[in-house]
Amino acid sequence: MLCRTANDLYWTARHIERAENTARLVDVSQRIALLPERLDPARHEAGAWRRALDALGTVQAYSRLNGPVVAHKVLRYLCLDPANPSSIYSCIRAARESARAQRGAVTLEMYEDLNTSWIEMRQIGQQRFEDEGLPRFIEWVKTRSASFRGVTIGTLGRDDPYHFLRLGTFLERADWCVRLMDVKYSQAESEAGDARSALGYYQWSALLNALSAMEMYRRRYRETILPERVAELMILNPDSPRSLATCTVTVHRTLAALAGPGNHEVVRQAGALMAETRYGRIDDLFAAGMEGWLRRVMTRLFELARQIDRHFLLTPEAVK
């Protein structure tokens, strides 16, 4: 398929996944922000929202536009602000624009679905957002994302366009998983408090709820909520649909299928990362320092994205 088409589809999927993940981040932040001050010492200074911006690396960009961190402004910035290229609004617009440029490569139903998201997104102004409330908006974003995923799985042939969409989805999800864990752990380590404290309990359960992983945690561990367990579930567990292991396995498999036979650097890098998460042990990660490990994974994901660009999305004019 055309490099430009592959690139647009890859970014369509990344943007939809980013919209969903941002909604989940807003969800967890809101759950934490609503805890009584006893359980969230940083509540008076909108700590939950500051951490959300931290996870996205957008504290500075936010402050430039909005000044101090204030809950309703952060919400607007993350959800509705067209000036924020990563806001849910901007992600849905970008996904729809990329798909519009590639209508021929996606199914009619996929395009209709993205177009529906965009038409509805434009109708959700500040007023409606406030009237209907945040939970309803988050639900809407997750439903739109699920709808696109479902339509894609249900209507698109399993050839290159499908693979590039999957690549975008799982690379974005991997990146986001690492960012979220990083914020939680750097905070957990700095607070150095009793992990079993009510504070930790509520914050970790907010995270699990936002990731729709609470039931899975309960089923798997039948135990109260412990940071190590959450980390294991979200990083190493291959059965969890949003874990880093699941993402890297899928990315590696997809890249291997796309690249075909031969030794390809891009496949090697994906494979190395997959092996480390798929066969890693949580005790080893904590022993070596979770925060440092997460930062290294973030760098490697970044490098992998660059390799994907180089290998698939830019073609030199060399004719065999």
Binding site: M1, R4, A6, G104, E112, F164, E317, V319
Partner: protein, 475 residues
């Protein structure tokens, strides 16, 4: 303004009784049985569906990315079988002659030598591309896709208003309008035998493959678009998808050793036939406009070397130029030895002194068109223009008379159309599509455009026109 022929109701002539014409009988019956309010509900449903499917077009001069719907009207334009048979034969004849003319003017120029068409009109025309002289194209076909604009006037006679041989658009609406009608009113299709049109993309692909460079078994076809800011982008993407071929932009292609390749995730892949929706002047910056960012450097050399086929051919525009239009009936006689089946509209060539003075004396009755204009831009509709507008246009004509032709204002036929006040007659035209490869194919149907403003004769979508589904009846 005389009374217009109505497509649905018998309204002209001494015998006119105002009843539905026979081929509209079933429809009329159905319409009368329709509970009030249901039509309006269906019309709204159609609008929502078109928005969701994203069948929109961009309007030049509006802010970038502005998207609009082309209004869709739910009353179909119905063509009875015998009328279609005549149209089909006339279209084949006309397009065959136009292709022969194109081959001739780029080779031996017999028609010019015979004095049937003035040499200077062709050879000094900006649409004549000297780079095409002496070059052979596969099958001698220049216009693979031709959109012929047809109107009805008087007591229902069909006339060809113009030929579109460059990059005629609108065929996607023919297909989408049909899908919409079948979705909204399936019962109507049970009551009528309507010839299907949805196989158009298959026929198009057949034609494109049939003109691939020699000795290619499985030619690769691509649709070349200027990109998604183009007003017809939806159609480019639609056709590529329906044919199952790549939709490429200039940046996706490159030329090596007179061979065209597209950049794919598996490396370069050769392209044999390009259905290009970019005008000649933008195709190759090394030959035409040097500042074009839309084209592909070197593509003309590959074309000239016979390594790639462009559809339509470069230089086809000389045959649909408005200044050449008056000569098409003579082309048919000259090349085919036949009398034209379809009439031309009487046309005054303002380059001729006699025609010019007639036209200047009758401007308030005439339609004056720029010979290179398209899309309803740069024309004067005499009966609808103010005195000041006519005076201003007169100055423009006098400055360069050869830039213009004039035609009598035709009382275009009308068709009932759903407007704010209910059903009312609105003027329509018709654009069928003729595909020419090894054989000629015409899908029975086409695009009917409708001028939505009362009394307006301008049907162009850029000027607020709408579209209708067009039914050719099989029995």
């Amino acid at each position: 303004m005389p009374v217009s022929y109505d497509e649905m109701f018998d309204n002209i002539g001494p015998e006119a009784n105002g009843a539905a014409r026979p081929h509209y009988g079933n429809f009329d019956h159905w319409l009368k049985a329709m509970p009030s309010g249901r039509l309006e509900q269906k019309r709204r449903e159609a609008e929502v569906l078109f928005h969701r499917v994203g069948i929109t077009f961009a309007v030049y001069g509006e802010k970038e990315g502005a998207e609009r719907l082309i209004p869709f009207d739910i009353v179909p334009r119905i063509i009875p079988r015998d009328e279609w048979k005549m149209l089909d034969a006339g279209l084949r004849q006309r397009v065959k002659a136009l292709n022969l003319f194109l081959h001739d003017v780029y080779h031996d120029q017999e028609i010019l030598a015979a004095g049937k068409v003035p040499s200077d009109l062709i050879l000094h025309n900006a649409e004549y591309k000297p780079v095409m002289r002496g070059m052979d194209v596969p099958g001698g076909i220049y216009s693979h896709i031709s959109g012929v604009d047809i109107v009805r006037a008087g007591r229902g006679e069909y006339y060809v208003l113009e030929d579109n041989l460059r990059v005629p658009s609108g065929v996607s609406y023919m297909i989408e309008n049909r899908r919409m009608m079948m979705r909204l009113f399936p019962e109507l299709f049970a009551m009528h035998s309507v010839a299907p049109v949805e196989h158009y993309p298959d026929r198009l692909l057949d034609v494109l493959r049939s003109v691939a460079p020699d000795a290619v078994d499985e030619p690769t076809v691509a649709v070349l678009t200027p990109g998604f800011h183009n007003s017809a982008y939806f159609e480019h993407a639609f056709l590529a998808q329906q044919m199952g071929v790549e939709l490429v932009e200039g940046q996706d292609l490159f030329v090596r050793d007179d061979t065209v390749y597209m950049r794919t995730t598996q490396g370069p892949q050769r392209v044999h036939v390009i259905y290009r929706r970019i005008n000649d002047d933008y195709l190759d910056p090394t030959v035409f406009k040097p500042d074009s960012m839309l084209g592909v450097p070197g593509i003309f050399a590959a074309y000239r070397a016979g390594r790639v086929t462009l559809a339509n051919a470069i230089g086809a525009g000389i045959a649909d130029d408005k200044s050449v239009y008056p000569y098409v009936p003579d082309m048919i006689r000259f090349y085919l030895g036949e009398e034209p089946i379809l009439y031309n509209v009487q046309t005054y060539k303002l380059r001729d002194r006699e025609d010019l003075s007639y036209a200047l004396d009758h401007l308030p009755e005439l339609v004056v068109k720029e010979v290179h204009g398209a899309g309803g831009y740069g024309m004067l509709v005499g009966p609808a223009a103010s005195k000041a507008q006519i005076a201003a246009f007169r100055e423009r004509i006098l400055a360069e008379p050869s830039k213009y032709i004039a035609q009598p204002t035709l009382a275009l036929s009308s068709c009932p159309t759903y407007v704010a006040s209910g059903l009312a007659p609105r003027h329509v035209d018709f654009r069928p599509y003729v595909l020419s490869g090894k054989e000629i194919h015409i899908v029975p149907g086409g695009l009917t455009r409708v001028a939505l403003a009362e009394g307006s004769l301008v049907v162009n979508s850029s000027q607020g026109g709408g579209t209708k589904d067009t039914w050719v009846l099989e029995e």
